[in-house]
């Protein structure tokens, strides 16, 4: 699936395909909002929650890896190389 095709889907359709095919990358909390990042094919999807895994504030899609920095802090490198 291409990013623009995903963006054309309804919210329920987006959640359905993310649930079935999205690959979890990481999450962080900032200013009371939880953000969970998934990868789908060649792009990324941020699901931003007002309440963790319950109420979604918005969904944001992108392809640039420069936006992945907030998630890198949560990755424990020593566990990956051990």
């Amino acid at each position: 699936m291409m990013l623009f095709e995903f963006q054309l889907l309804s919210l329920d359709e987006k959640l359905d395909i993310l649930y079935r095919e999205g690959v979890y990358v990481g999450k962080y909390k900032e200013e009371g909002l939880w953000t969970i990042l998934y990868q789908l094919d060649y792009f990324y999807i941020e699901v931003i929650y007002r309440q963790y895994r319950r109420y979604i504030k918005r969904i944001y899609c992108f392809t640039s890896t420069s936006l992945l920095d907030p998630y890198l802090e949560g990755i424990q490198i020593e566990l990956l190389v051990s």
Partner: protein
């Protein structure tokens, strides 16, 4: 008055947010279910190794440091007491490799919910892995 003993479900997850999520999901069955939680794989394995009874369901987060959910599952299946106990791997993604692995060890896979609609069905997905007798006792 409810005189039957509660059905014990044990759950390990290193993510406190997901622990809270599942605790809340099972709160509607609090009369019939006692949810015992752990924040790492080693603790749940130590608890189960010395547990005299057998829980009706074991829920294991896949991604835990030191001892992940898959390793806990492998070790549990080597213990006679847990050879056939229902186990669910609780995953952040629906990866085919996780489903294949779980199938090899007679376990199920449930993906963590993305929104309220899925949240409402998650307890049912867990309970569906229990034996028929236990399912009736939990939902009575």
């Amino acid at each position: 008055m409810n005189s039957l003993p509660k059905n014990i479900i044990v759950y390990a997850d290193d993510d406190p947010d997901d622990l809270d999520l599942v605790k809340e999901a099972f709160s509607k069955y609090s009369q019939n279910v006692e949810l015992v939680t752990f924040d790492d794989g080693g603790s749940i394995l130590a608890y189960l190794s010395s547990f005299e009874n057998t829980p009706c369901l074991i829920i294991l987060d896949i991604n835990m440091p030191i001892l992940d959910g898959k390793e806990v599952l492998v070790r549990l299946r080597k213990i006679d007491q847990y050879e056939s106990t229902p186990v669910v791997l609780f995953s952040t993604s629906c990866l085919p490799t996780d489903k294949i692995f779980a199938g090899q060890y007679n376990a199920g896979v449930v993906a963590k919910p993305l929104a309220m609609q899925q949240m409402e069905t998650i307890t049912d997905l867990f309970i569906d892995h229990c034996t028929e007798d236990i399912r009736k006792r939990i939902r009575r």
